[in-house]
């Protein structure tokens, strides 16, 4: 098909031709076109279907406020549903499909809904589909769901990359129309750091759509020249194709730059889009205004659009929506469209003006009256006009421009809950006084609709924002027409007159909403879905509001204002996520021995952001349990080594270090001897156990505290809180050294023998007894720390070296340990051994357990205050029958004892009322030859030996168990001290 509707020249590059396809049919267009302008040029008006009634839809606008012309752009994994054809920059090979149809766009089977529109009024679904009760979910809802929705996702992973970036400036200018360009010029020439962002791919705003001059040049040429000057200024950053999506606190703006959306696929290494966080001191909002339609019967046919859009298509894209055009207006601006179209050789059938004092024209007929109905199944063919004298006229036209006045684009002024105020002269809402701090509004967005006012307003806004002094520079002469408007919202008596063309909200729905008492703007929107479409009601809210005001006998602002929420236009979820997806969702923390463990074929597990070796499979081992059992048995028999670097480490120094630890641990530390380590239990201030670990006193004024892996950060934060906020005069300094030291547990009866091969000092049992600690050297002088502490219950040590030596130390341990058959073990074997020993870990320290629950109630020192002590004494935390940590073993050694299962008495009902406790951690004990668990049981310490049932209805397990001590292995602790 040829481009039958091209008229003359414009800002489209006719020297190049681009091929594209829509619904499988091929067309051509040119660089500078949008998909909508190119389709219109090819005589295609029908581009979509509406949400509810599946009415035929063509573009209403030529911009991002478009409610109708939504398409599925591109194909395969790059398919983008609901893409506005009016903003898609045409590229060669562009592929688009219409959406929300059953069958073809021309013969949409769901257009039958339109026949039943009388039944599908606002809120009809709240009143029916309730019987029989089960039918809603089984029958009605699936039908509604399948019919609803607009475009479809491919459900393939998005193949494109998104980036994020940060920008800082003195002045952010949003919108590059006359006001924005004037502001940028003023600020840029004054040397300020300026960012000028515009959603369009061509800066200039309405100047690209108008014919009037600025100074000696056409508006579009002035814009081009101005952009060129701005581009030459090093302090100005021009950001076309960039939508400022939101105004957030403290001058932070979100902006999305569409880097590659105008290309078939992004260039290699380039993102599709970038999310910029712009930090600015001041902002000039110069986002222009949006024309609004007028409601009348059947005002939604393809070919009926905003008059300003007709003008844009003609002047900017050299496209006539049709060769025969009529205009329906309540203000002078509609006439501007008529004369521009006439000048381009388009037949203006008539301008229908609602006002009694309509301007006359030599070029076209002006009718005083109203358009009352239209015809045309898939696009406009005739418009019926009722003249002021009551007579009827039929206009033969394929396009009808609607000009109901202009709404300043106040969107971003509302993002911090600002409320626009009513301006009766414009019959529109303008920005209120409660703007986001630092924002000034200029030009049409402020309600200054003439070009001259926009130029002046932009310059003034920039000067005010930057505090520029001196005389205002002269501005070029420009159009300065007054706004002549007589508000006219809808034709009386109309019913199926569309307000929200996407969601199919008509005047009739607003009337029904009023009739049923949904009269405030919030109720109106929610009940009718007016303004809830993908355009956030940019072209529809005002009409609905005005009609509701009339029905309620109120002034428009009394019904309410329409405010907007971010984002300004719908924003790809991908760009908001940036690169944080897949493996890059969160950073990975690797321990110093990670590479070594990889070489051993370790299986890794996520522990927070850490990756830890979970077990080390050996050739021939087919099940993880084989590996883990081997690691446990080998460690308990000879010696094992485990990377425990991930444990939190905090260096505590100062003359008050011991006093400080006394404060944060519930047990005493003041008297801990130098070179000794002590287990410590930390409470939250609410008396619940927070974390446990060890504190090693390396010197009188120097401790090293360890925390669990999971709590490393919160515990450090808590310690700093106590230090800075509660004890500001204590002489104590903290630093997190988690990543400064690599640390390994060396455990098992041969651990000492192994370490003696690398430690330079005497570590015999006498010289270095249980719970000893020291600064040592290894391998002939490398500084290290040694702690004789044990999580496994064996004779064990933890040895720490500066991180850079971690890998080497692990290799050294393996080398010197070969004679003892040293076995690396992972977190699973670590877990098995700590359960065998009855040590609490994350599953037990779950944020709801007390020291008493953990069997450590007596650790809370009565001799001193500590964080959490007072509140730990509350009656509810010390009640009779409290939970106590216990061991659980199956009566039949072949039975499992699953974690998460609940304990029930041996007899009696199994339900919540009879719940006795639960298993927290479970494993198979290769030493005992059966499963074991630890858990919490009401009155647990008095129930040793009791038979109970451990039930997990979720996993359909029920086993008879015996309650035991949680210390399954070496309860006397002889191995530790060996």
């Amino acid at each position: 098909m040829t481009q039958v509707n091209r008229i003359g020249r414009a800002q489209v590059d006719f020297t190049k031709t681009l091929k594209f396809s829509f619904d499988g049919k091929s067309y051509t267009g040119h660089p500078g076109d949008t998909l909508a302008s190119a389709l219109l040029a090819n005589g295609v008006r029908l581009m979509g279907r509406s949400f509810k009634y599946h009415r035929p839809r063509g573009p209403l606008s030529a911009g991002s406020e478009e409610p109708n012309a939504l398409v599925e752009l591109r194909g395969g994994a790059r398919q983008e549903p609901n893409t506005r054809a009016t903003t898609v920059e045409l590229f060669d090979g562009l592929l688009a499909k219409s959406q929300n149809r059953l069958g073809s766009l021309k013969f949409d089977l769901l257009s039958i809904n339109d026949r039943f529109s009388n039944f599908l009024t606002a809120g009809f679904y709240y009143k029916t589909f309730m019987w029989p009760a089960a039918f809603w979910e089984k029958l009605y809802e699936p039908i509604i769901r399948n019919a609803a929705g607009l475009g479809s996702l491919s459900l393939q992973d998005d193949p494109d990359v998104y980036d994020k970036g940060f920008l800082h400036c003195d002045l952010l200018i949003i919108g590059a129309g006359p006001a924005g360009l004037s502001a940028a010029l003023t600020a840029g020439r004054a040397g300020a750091d300026v960012i000028l962002a515009d959603e369009d791919f061509r800066m200039g705003g309405r100047l690209n759509s108008e014919t009037f001059a600025i100074g000696d040049a056409s508006g579009a040429d002035w814009a081009t020249a101005t952009v060129a000057e701005l581009a030459s200024l090093p302090n100005v950053r021009l950001m076309p194709r960039t939508t400022v999506i939101g105004a957030f606190d403290h001058g932070i703006y979100g902006a999305v730059e569409r880097v590659s959306d105008h290309m078939h696929t992004p260039d290699a290494g380039k993102p599709r889009q970038v999310l910029w966080r712009i930090y600015t001191k001041h902002t000039v909002l110069a986002a222009g205004a949006i024309e609004r339609p007028i409601a009348f019967e059947n005002n939604d046919r393809p070919g009926i659009m905003l008059a300003s859009a007709l003008r844009t298509y003609a002047n900017r894209f050299a496209v006539a929506a049709d060769r025969r055009v009529a205009i329906f207006t309540n203000n002078d601006d509609g006439h501007r469209t008529a004369s521009d179209l006439h000048a381009r050789g388009v037949k203006v059938v008539a301008v229908v003006d609602t006002r009694t004092e309509a301007p006359r024209s030599m070029d076209y007929e002006v009718l005083q009256g109203q358009v009352v109905d239209t015809k045309g199944r898939l696009g406009l063919t005739f418009a019926e006009v009722k003249l002021a004298d009551g007579s009827m006229r039929t206009l033969d036209c394929g396009a009808l421009g609607l000009s109901g006045g202009w709404n300043p684009n106040v969107h971003l002024t509302c993002h911090q809950r600002g409320r626009p105020t009513w301006n009766a002269d414009l019959a529109a809402f303008v920005p209120g006084d409660d703007l986001p701090p630092g924002m000034v509004v200029a030009g049409a967005a402020q309600g200054d609709l003439s070009t001259a006012d926009a130029l002046a307003g932009g310059a003034k806004a920039a000067r005010a924002a930057l505090g520029l002094k001196g005389r205002m520079p002269a501005l070029p002469e420009a159009e300065d027409a007054p706004v002549n408007i007589t508000p006219f919202w809808y034709v009386k008596g109309c019913s199926r007159a569309w307000l929200d063309q996407q969601n199919d909200v008509t005047v009739k729905d607003v009337k029904l909403s009023h009739q049923e008492g949904f009269r405030s703007v919030e109720h109106l929107k929610r009940y009718t879905t007016l303004g809830m479409a993908t355009d956030q009601g940019k072209t529809s809210n005002m009409g609905g509001l005005a009609i509701m005001a009339e029905l309620a006998g109120k002034a428009i602002p009394e019904v309410g204002t329409t405010i907007f929420r971010p984002p300004y236009t719908p924003t790809a979820i991908g760009v908001l996520a940036g690169r944080h997806r897949g493996q890059e969702f969160h950073p990975k923390r690797l321990t110093p021995s990670h590479k070594w463990a990889e070489e051993q074929g370790a299986v890794f597990v996520e522990v927070g952001n850490w990756l830890r070796a979970q077990w080390f499979p050996k050739p021939g081992e087919t099940h993880w349990r084989e590996s883990v059992d081997r690691e446990v048995l080998a460690t308990r028999k000879s010696v094992g080594v485990c990377d425990v670097t991930t444990l939190g480490k905090v260096d505590v120094q100062g003359t008050d270090a011991a006093a400080f630890l006394n404060k944060i641990y519930c047990n005493g530390f003041a008297k801990l001897a130098v070179s000794k380590t002590r287990y410590g239990l930390m409470l939250r201030e609410d008396g619940i156990a927070m974390d446990d670990g060890t504190a090693a006193r390396l010197a009188e004024d120097h401790f090293v505290v360890t925390t669990t892996t999971a709590n490393a950060l919160p515990v450090y934060r808590h310690m700093e809180f106590v230090r800075q906020c509660l004890c500001p005069d204590m002489d104590v300094q903290l630093i997190s050294t988690t990543e400064a030291w690599a640390q390994y547990a060396v455990a098992g009866p041969n651990s000492r023998k192994l370490l003696e091969k690398i430690v330079d000092q005497d570590i015999s049992n006498d010289a270095f007894p249980f719970m000893a600690c020291a600064n040592i050297t290894i391998c002939g002088g490398l500084r290290a720390r040694l702690f004789r502490i044990s999580f496994s219950g064996e004779l064990a040590y933890e040895i720490a070296v500066p991180t850079a030596y971690g890998d080497a130390l692990m290799r050294k341990i393996m080398e010197v340990g070969a004679e003892f058959d040293v076995t690396p073990y992972g977190t699973e074997a670590l877990g098995v051994m700590r359960i065998e020993k009855g040590h609490a870990a994350g599953n037990e320290l779950n944020g709801t357990t007390t020291a008493q629950n953990l069997g450590m109630g007596r650790m809370i020192s009565s001799l001193k205050d500590c964080i959490g002590k007072t509140l730990s004494q509350r009656e509810g935390l010390n009640a009779d029958g409290d939970l106590r940590q216990v061991g659980i073993r199956p009566v039949d050694p072949n039975d499992p004892v699953p974690a998460g299962a609940h304990l029930m008495n041996a007899d009696g009902p199994i339900d919540a009322a009879h719940d006795q406790g639960y298993a927290t951690s479970a494993c198979y004990s290769p030493n005992l030859g059966h499963a074991i668990a630890i858990g919490f049981l009401k009155n647990g310490s008095d129930r040793m030996g009791e038979r109970m049932r451990l039930v997990s209805p979720l996993t359909k397990v029920q086993v008879d168990v015996e309650i035991t001590s949680a210390h399954f292995i070496d309860p006397e602790g002889e191995r530790l001290r060996a």
């Binding site: 609901n82 019987w131 809603w136 979100g254 719908p570 979820i573 939250r684 009656e875």
Partner: protein, 416 residues
């Protein structure tokens, strides 16, 4: 007026002339037996059950703006009863049962849709905790099912299980969970309450309480003093502000929680899904929008809006499990103000002031609680005793050390 399919057809054929306002717009009377402050979901439900179930008369709901304009109109519409603790689970299960019969009960289609809710599991410890929770649910008479990764993948084939930073190791499903059309809940209760004679008074802001000799006699409002035998407060998000007028300090902070909706899409998500290794949960509305949310912004706020870091955090969570959502567009974001309590659980209790009752502290879980909250608050107001499923929701539980802390985060509200 009773709504029915027949009525809809009749009206359609006769020009919709017979529809009447869904609720009256009365002027306040000088005195009521019971005044409920707050025309949100909980307040309206309370009034409805007071009138319908507890046969109370002379009830008014006072709303400072328009009913349904608070959190009931700005949430992610999820219902579920997948709680762990004894203080919570029976209450939320009671609520879920009320949801199941709600539409027939109040003759309004709130589109209760039990499409199921699924919590993803990413670590062994998480699995242990979810098994304990699932067992607690079943022991309390609720439903729960542990799903394998394969079962989940069959239901959500586009879920990222291949390139996941935190692998999916299963999930805990509650098939009776789901979503509800949130606005319809407020309107349905309002219409139901109105039909039982409750006065719903909009644009009537309570500015103070009249308290004499330790007894609350009524409320000062923007429409003048209104006397009351009993006053119940249900003003989620504004609880501290309101109760400060009775010189009370509450165990809660107000925080902003953002929620998000995408453009309409053809159906992709069968149910509600919750990411267990990031802050993201999502469902799809009947209109096709992906409705999703994540974590609190984290700082005290009464401004009903949030900031970019959380928007990004939530979308990162979304992309982590659904990499195909990258090309869907976020349409709108908004913020609601949550009463974040000190243990993450609510309060339904009498105050120390005679005749003054309180309902609040719902954190971000208030929507699913709406029916039971209303029912239990009505029970308390009518009988002066707690409803059997809400006995734990007392003011004094903090002083006594009887916290109901599902997450185990302690007395820091923004961590719940």
């Amino acid at each position: 007026m009773r709504y029915s399919g027949f009525k809809v057809i009749k009206e359609a054929l006769t020009g919709h002339k017979g529809w009447t306002p869904a609720w009256r717009d009365p002027a306040p009377q000088a005195h009521y037996d019971i005044i409920i402050i707050g025309g949100g979901g909980h307040g309206l439900a309370t009034a409805y059950y007071l009138a319908k179930e507890y046969k109370q008369k002379r009830i008014a709901v006072l709303e400072k703006g328009w009913i349904g304009g608070g959190n009931v109109g700005r949430n992610t519409t999820i219902i579920r009863s997948n709680y762990l603790l004894d203080g919570n689970e029976p209450f939320y299960e009671f609520s879920l049962k009320l949801w199941e019969g709600l539409e027939q009960d109040f003759n309004y289609n709130a589109m209760v849709s039990q499409r199921g809710i699924l919590n993803l599991i990413h670590t062994d410890a998480q699995r242990d905790a979810f098994i304990r929770r699932g067992n607690a649910m079943i022991l309390n008479g609720a439903d729960a099912e542990l799903l394998s990764t394969e079962q989940i993948k069959a239901r959500y084939p586009f879920l990222n299980t291949e390139d996941a930073r935190f692998p999916i190791k299963g999930g805990l499903a509650q098939h009776r969970g789901g979503t509800v059309r949130h606005d319809a809940v407020a309107w349905g209760y309002a219409r139901g309450a109105d039909s039982h004679g409750v006065d719903i008074i909009q644009n009537c802001e309570v500015t103070g309480f009249r308290i004499e000799n330790g007894k609350c006699l009524g409320v000062e409002t923007s429409k003048g003093f209104i006397g009351a035998g009993k006053v119940g407060c249900a003003v989620a998000g504004s609880s501290s502000r309101l109760m400060a007028r009775a010189d009370m300090r509450l165990p809660m902070e107000s925080h902003v929680l953002q929620a998000f909706v995408s453009e309409g899409l053809k159906p992709v998500l069968p149910g509600v899904i919750t990411f267990g290794a990031g802050h993201f949960y999502c469902s799809q509305s009947d209109k096709g929008g992906l409705v999703f949310g994540g974590d609190l912004d984290g700082y005290n706020s009464y401004a009903q809006r949030g900031n970019l870091p959380v928007v990004e955090d939530v979308c990162e969570g979304g992309m982590a499990i659904f990499p195909s959502f990258g090309r869907a567009r976020l349409l709108r974001m908004w913020g609601g103000i949550m009463d974040m309590s000190m243990d993450g659980s609510p309060i339904i209790d009498r105050t120390h002031i005679d005749g003054l009752y309180f309902n609040g502290g719902w954190c971000y879980g208030g929507f699913k609680a709406t029916p039971a909250s209303g029912f239990c608050f009505a029970h308390l107001l009518a009988t002066d005793a707690p409803h059997p499923t809400a006995t734990a929701y007392r003011f004094d539980r903090f002083e006594k050390g009887l916290m109901i802390d599902e997450k185990g985060m302690g007395n820091q509200p923004n961590l719940h």
